[in-house]
C-alpha cells in the first residue's frame, strides 16, 4: 500500500504545526508504522529540534533535490522509536530553493519506503505553503481557539480545497476548557461552525508541551501529559480507529470545589 502523504498546515504561525507533526509522527511510529516527518519549512527549520535530532542532521532535503546526496543519506533515523525518521530542511537556504514539482518528486521517492509521510508546512500562503501542499494528498489543519488563527485556517482550507486535497481535517490546539466555559475562548463547536471540516482531535493547553519541546522529546514517546494523549488519539484516528474525543475537563478541573461541581453537573461536555 503506498504511503499516505499528509501536510500539516495552519496559515498562521505559532499555532503548533511543528509540535503536532513531531508528536503525530512519533505516535504513528509507536503504532508500528514507518513514518517520515519532512521539515518543509526551508530556512526556518525547527522540526529537528523538537524531535531532538538536530545534532544528527548532516544533509537536508534540498541536498537530495539538488542531487548532492542520496535520499537515504539525508534521512535521520530516530533511535528511540523504531520506524520514525526525519528529513530535515536546509537552514541556510530560502523557500525559493525548491519548487512544487520537486516536492512532488521527493514525496514520490519517499512513498515506497514509508507508511506515512508528514510534511511540516511553513506559516503563510506563499511559496513555502504551496511547495509543501503540492506533494500531499491529505491535510491536517492546525488552529488555536483564537479568531485570527481560525480566520487564517479558513483561508488555508479554501486553498487546500482548490488544490484538490482530501480529506482535510482539523486539529484544535491549545484549548483551555475553563476559558471556554467562562466564554473567554472560542468553543470547539464555534470553530467547527466557521470552518465546516471534520475534526480529528482537540489538544488541550499543556505545560508539558513546552517541557517536551525544550527537551527535544516528542510527548507521545512518554505519554505523561494530556496533550500527549490527545496526539496519540489523533494518530489512532488517522489509522482509521474510532476513538472518542477526550473529556478535557477531567484534566483541568482539580480541587475540592471542582469535585463538588463535577458531582452536581448534569451533563459532561465532550471535547
Amino acid at each position: 500500500m503506498p504511503a499516505r502523504v499528509i501536510v500539516v498546515t495552519s496559515g498562521k504561525g505559532g499555532v503548533g504545526k511543528t509540535t503536532s507533526t513531531a508528536n503525530i509522527a512519533a505516535a504513528l511510529a509507536k503504532f508500528g508504522k514507518k513514518v517520515v516527518a519532512v521539515d518543509a519549512d526551508v530556512g526556518l527549520r525547527n522540526l529537528d529540534v523538537i524531535m531532538g535530532l538536530e545534532n544528527r542532521v548532516v544533509f537536508n532535503f534540498i541536498d537530495v533535490i539538488e542531487k548532492t546526496c542520496k535520499l537515504s543519506q539525508a534521512l535521520v533515523k530516530d533511535k528511540r522509536v523504531p520506524g520514525l525518521y526525519l528529513l530535515p530542511a536546509a537552514q541556510t537556504r530560502t523557500k525559493d530553493a525548491v519548487n512544487p514539482q520537486q516536492m512532488i518528486e521527493l514525496c514520490e521517492e519517499l512513498k515506497p519506503d514509508f507508511d506515512f509521510i508528514l510534511l511540516d508546512c511553513p506559516a503563510g500562503i506563499e511559496g513555502g505553503f504551496k511547495n509543501a501542499a503540492a506533494g500531499a494528498d491529505e491535510a491536517l489543519v492546525v488552529t488555536t481557539p483564537e479568531i485570527p488563527a481560525v480566520r487564517d485556517a479558513d483561508r488555508i482550507i479554501g486553498m487546500l480545497e482548490s488544490m484538490g486535497k482530501s480529506p482535510i481535517r482539523l486539529i484544535i490546539n491549545r484549548l483551555r476548557p475553563n476559558m471556554v466555559q467562562d466564554g473567554d475562548m472560542l468553543a470547539k463547536d464555534d470553530i467547527l461552525d466557521v470552518l465546516s471540516i471534520d475534526l480529528i482531535g482537540v489538544v488541550p493547553e499543556d505545560e508539558g508541551v513546552i517541557r517536551a519541546t525544550n527537551n527535544g522529546e516528542p510527548m507521545t514517546m512518554t505519554l505523561d501529559s494530556p496533550a500527549a494523549h490527545a496526539y496519540l488519539n489523533i494518530a489512532e484516528r488517522l489509522l482509521g480507529n474510532d476513538v472518542p474525543l477526550m473529556d478535557l475537563e477531567s484534566y483541568t478541573s482539580r480541587g475540592f470545589f471542582s469535585w463538588i461541581k463535577k458531582l452536581f453537573k448534569r451533563r459532561t461536555r465532550q471535547y
Binding site: 500562503i125 480566520r151 479558513d154 483561508r155 479554501g158 486553498m159 480545497e161 461552525d193 466557521v194 465546516s196
Partner: protein, 257 residues
Amino acid sequence: MKIPAILSRFKKPDAKITFERTYYGIKFFLPESLSDDDLLRTLAGIHAGVYKLPENEGLALDFQNRACSGKLILKLLAGLVWRNGVKIVAWLSSNPDTKKLFALSGLNIVEPAQEINNLKHAAEKTLDSVDNNNEVINEYPGWKIIYNSVRGGQRIETEGDVLLWGHLNAGAEVIAGGSVIVAGKLHGLVHAGAFGRNDVFIWAGIFETPQVRIANKLCYADKQSTTGWLKTVLITLENGSPLIREDKFINSRMEEK
C-alpha cells in the same frame, strides 16, 4: 502693454476649458494655468444648457495638477453644482494633495467604471427585448446561487444578484451589481449595488460583519452600537443612507428556541 493689476480680473484668460464626451457624460479639463477666480468665472460663463445632461449621466471635473483649496471646492459647489443642479460623478486630479482633499471631502476621485455603462446598456437591452425578442432576456445577469460557504480570501463577483446558501466567512468578499442574500453568518464583506444601483438590498441570516457596502454608501457596524448585530437583518438604502432592519419574525422564532 501691461494691464494694471486692478483691471487684470477683466482680462480674458488665455487658457481654455475643454470638454470631452465620455460614456458617463462630459469630462471638463480645467487648465491649471487658470487662477481660481478665472476658473470660477469661466465655468460660470458656460451656457447653462451644457449642464443639462440626461438623468443617468454626469460631469467629471479634471483639475489636472492644480493645488485645490477647500475654499475653491465650496465655491465650485455653490457656483456650479448647486446653482445648475449638475451631478458631478468624479473629481479628478493628478495632484496628490488635491486628491487627498477630495477624498477627505467624500468626493468620488475616480472615473465611473465602464461596467456601469455596460450594465446599463445590458439592462436597457433586456427591458427592450421583453417586448421584441424573448431570447435576449437571458443576457440579464440574474441570480448567482452558491451552495457552500465562501471562505476567507475567496471573492465572488457578479453583475447580478447573489444567493449564498452558507456562511460568508471573515476575509471573504461578495461584490454584486444587484442584491445579496447570505443565508448563514455574514462575517465577510458584501457590496451590493457595486456598479451604482440604489434599489438593492442585503439580507443576512446572522449579521456579524464590521462593514457593509450598498451602492456608493459604506456602513460600519459593531456589536455595541449596531441594530441587528447577531440577528437576521435586511439592509437597504433609505433616503440615501443605509438602514438596518431586524427580521422580527425570524429573530423571535430564534429566541423562542
